[in-house]
Amino acid sequence: MKDANVKSIVCIKRVPDTETRVRIGSDGASIDPSGVKYVLNPYDEFALEEAIRLKEAAGEGSVTALSLGPPAATETLRTALAMGADDAVLLEGEPSHDGLATARALAAEIEGRDFDLLLFGKQAVDDDNMQVPAMVAEILGLPCATVVVELDVEGGHVRAVREVEGGHETVEFDLPGVVAAQKGLNEPRYASLKGIMAAKKKPLEEKEADLSGSDIELLSLSEPPEAEAGEIVGEGADAVPELVRRLREEAKVL
């Protein structure tokens, strides 16, 4: 990953921490936000880190963090600025279950900007939609590689290795283009105290998101059925024959 003057835009999302216990809200259509800790989506950290490293390696270039979310997402953008992004943009609005609506709003903002590389995390760990990166690419008519674990950018050319079932697949394209980051791409840094202080002075623009209508309607959000309490077959190696018998005869999975 070395290239001169790459202008990156990194799209990030504010999501509940993965250690959060999810409870459904009284409306039956959203999660109960009380007691939920919100963080920068873990996969977006890999995308941010990669953009910052590209800039550091070249000694020039820029990194813009962009998020569609509620006003509180400014905290998430400050985290990105503290890690090393140069400026940030909040598109204020509530991302819905419809990835296409989010993608359209992001694409409308990105379209007017000067950029080379558009980075995302491969998915947000709240809705797990895994839709927005490839949708934005398609709306903007750009090439795209998703689930990327290795990235080289050189002379305006991208070589990305993506993770597929039981192996890897290499994708090549010319910039501008879209990359969606998977765990393993890099080891994201923690924001330093100096970075946190500097972030307070970096520009953060806020504007309304242009969220269009949707042809997919959320009917309900529910908790999965409680798993029936299992059974301890026994203790130690002596319990193994009974376990194997039950896997064969009762569960019929052997």
């Binding site: 999810v22 927005v132 795209c144 597929v164 192996g167 299992g230 052997l254």
Partner: protein
């Protein structure tokens, strides 16, 4: 007009198994929405005969585009094919697999057709003549029920959930002319990793190890169990051991790893953090081996053994080998 399009996938000149699941789910949906099932197959020359077998899973017409370039993933060509078939047939729904390829292609197709997508779906039904789907969110900690209006509805299905069903069928192959060029990306053929073609997300049986394994050197014990169980078995790992660098991240099961739905899941030396449970709780049968009787993994396990895994594992491998030999 109407009906359902099943977008299949090939690798190395063969249909991937999940393609039969996509056709099966499309058949079931078409049965409730009306209309037939078309299957789309892009593959290298010679794929036609195997593609014809999709008739046995409910495809009425099997559109086959053959080109040397389709030995690898060809997203731009696939998009052109989907767009052309949609233009000619105006489907009620378009189904894909929520596989690595399907997760890449489905959102592109949705954006191209300017239609919404429900991804990684585990249930499909029809209410008031509208496709209605259920899909896990928060890695399975919540289930969202979504209804489409208008057509087509784009749906990607979670592997291992819609099991293939054979039926009587007289569907036939029809050649489809799809150009490999222009293409915005050049995709190289897949290079297989350590576990061959089988991925933990698509395996029939998963053998997962956690911190309780003590040391990466001990993984041969899990490999022995995997070998004893036969075909369709993949190794998995908890986040703790992936973060510790003991195992590659493609084996990680959980909220920041893969969500798996195998028939049988072995959790060996895994205590059961929320984020791990989110990735495997929908496995059909869960077996846990752990030293700590209070470990949360026992709350979701169907069968548990409390004990020292270094004593239990070799015995388990031996007993399964013996049972298989009968």
């Amino acid at each position: 007009m109407g009906g359902v399009l099943a977008v299949t996938e090939t690798r190395g000149g063969a249909l991937r198994g999940v393609s039969r699941e996509v056709v099966t789910a499309a058949r079931s949906l078409a049965g409730r929405l009306g209309g037939g099932v078309d299957a789309l197959v892009l593959g290298p020359p010679g794929i036609g005969e195997e593609a014809g077998h999709l008739a046995a899973f409910g495809a009425d017409r099997i559109f086959v585009a053959q080109d040397e370039a389709f030995g690898a993933y060809a997203p731009d060509a696939a998009l052109r094919a989907i767009e052309e078939l949609e233009g000619a047939n105006e489907y009620r729904a378009i189904l894909l697999a929520a596989s690595a390829r399907g997760k890449d292609l489905a959102p592109r197709a949705a954006a191209r057709l300017d239609r919404p997508l429900a991804s990684d779906v585990t249930e499909i039904s029809v209410e008031d003549d509208r496709p209605v789907v259920v899909r896990p969110q928060y890695a399975g900690k919540a289930l969202a029920k979504l209804a489409f209006s208008g057509a087509p509805a784009l749906i990607s299905i979670r592997p291992n959930v819609f099991l293939p069903e054979e039926r009587e069928g007289d569907g036939a192959v029809e050649p489809l002319d799809v150009s490999a060029e222009p293409a915005r990306t050049r995709v190289h053929p897949v290079e297989s990793g350590g576990q061959g073609e089988l991925d933990v997300a698509e395996a029939r049986i998963v053998v997962s190890g956690g911190r309780g394994m003590g040391d990466p050197e001990n993984w041969h014990l899990l490999e022995d169990l995997k070998d004893a169980l036969g075909d369709g078995v993949a190794l998995g790992a908890s986040r703790a051991v992936v973060d510790a660098g003991w195992r590659p991240h493609e084996e990680q099961v959980g909220q920041t790893g893969k969500v798996v739905t195998p028939e049988l899941y072995f959790a060996i030396g895994i205590s059961g953090a929320i984020q791990h449970l989110a990735g495997m709780r929908t496995a059909k049968v869960i077996v846990a081996v752990n030293r700590d009787p209070e470990a949360p993994i026992f709350d979701v396990a169907d069968y548990g053994i409390v004990g020292d895994l270094f004593e239990v594992l070799p015995k388990l491998t031996e007993e399964i080998r013996a049972a298989k030999a009968v």
